[in-house]
Symmetry: C2
Subunit: 194 residues, 2 copies
């Protein structure tokens, strides 16, 4: 099976970004993650922090916050504008050639438009809590609480812009538990399918 | 990673049973599927057809049918009794040694009780429709209608006895789309992880 593009959707703290980078390195193709933020920043004038936070998560003020936030003449919130630019950037990157794209609903955006292998990486709350403390260090907030908040907001974002439930196996060619299988096994499986 | 038992949950028509048998053959371990029905029949006196139909699906009369059906002194329906015997049979099989167990909520039953690799096999409605016509032949009912009915009843059964949503990636170590990846790739990935 030859697939041109690999999209990696992931739960926060599951190591999906690391897996994406390692798969890309092994296959000798680019991995787009931070690069997407840079490209959007250049095209939109939005700040990198804003893009990073609002391109995958609903606002921490939740649905009401999104509804009550500022809107342009056409009724679009700044997050809607970001979604539209982000979508364009991802579709353009996919035109360039084989690559790995991490997050940002790329699986949904490229459905039927490119030859994709769509991957979902998840892990238990315990395993992810261990990982975020290890990778990002301690914070004043308990890691489980940070994860639950991130999960809830990413899930809502995905639902809002794709009208599909987040985390359903049926939405992906491949869904892997990086906590039980290990990062290395996940990389082997994905790279082996390309 | 060494896992003693592989459980395969699958959507009807996804080829999960075939994948289970091929994985077991390649690893030289038993695959329990029809054997579970034989064992339950022996232990319970229930007919094989009844076990086959009611051990993975809610009655076609649905929830109301289950509620209104006959109950024993303790309020258990025949399906509850079947669930209890089936659970015992699966836990006993898991004690015997490395094996593949297909369907029947084995993933849920063995959670925390055995060293398991839990797998979910799914495919699009179109791919599954093609497959069931190829494997089981034509029927008076459209294949898509048969599949939707089977999906609905299997999902309700899983929910009723495990109190967990069917088809969520997070419930499995590995979820594979047999329609896009192909049966052979699925077998390779699963056998490679054992």
């Amino acid at each position: 099976m030859t697939k041109r593009i690999i999209t990696i959707s992931r739960e926060f703290g599951s190591g999906g970004r690391t897996i994406g980078r390692e798969v890309a390195a092994r296959l000798g193709i680019p991995c787009y993650d931070q690069e997407i933020i840079d490209e959007i920043a250049e095209k939109s004038g939005l700040a990198r922090d804003y893009i990073s936070e609002h391109g995958e998560y609903v606002s921490s003020a939740g649905w009401w916050g999104s509804l009550l936030g500022s809107r342009d003449y056409y009724g679009n919130s700044p997050q809607d504008t970001l979604w539209s630019i982000q979508s364009r950037v991802i579709l353009d990157l996919a035109e360039k050639g084989p690559c790995v794209i991490v997050g940002r609903c790329a699986d949904h955006l490229l459905k039927g438009k490119a030859d994709c292998l769509t991957v979902f990486i998840h892990a238990s709350l315990e395993k992810r809590a261990e990982r975020i403390v290890h990778v990002y260090g301690e914070s004043s907030e308990a890691p489980e609480k940070r994860l639950r908040d991130k999960d809830r907001r990413r899930k809502a974002y995905y639902q809002m812009y794709t009208d599909t439930e987040w985390g359903l196996a049926a939405n992906y060619d491949l869904a892997l538990d990086s906590g039980t299988l290990g990062i290395e096994s996940c990389v082997d499986i994905i790279a082996g399918l390309f």
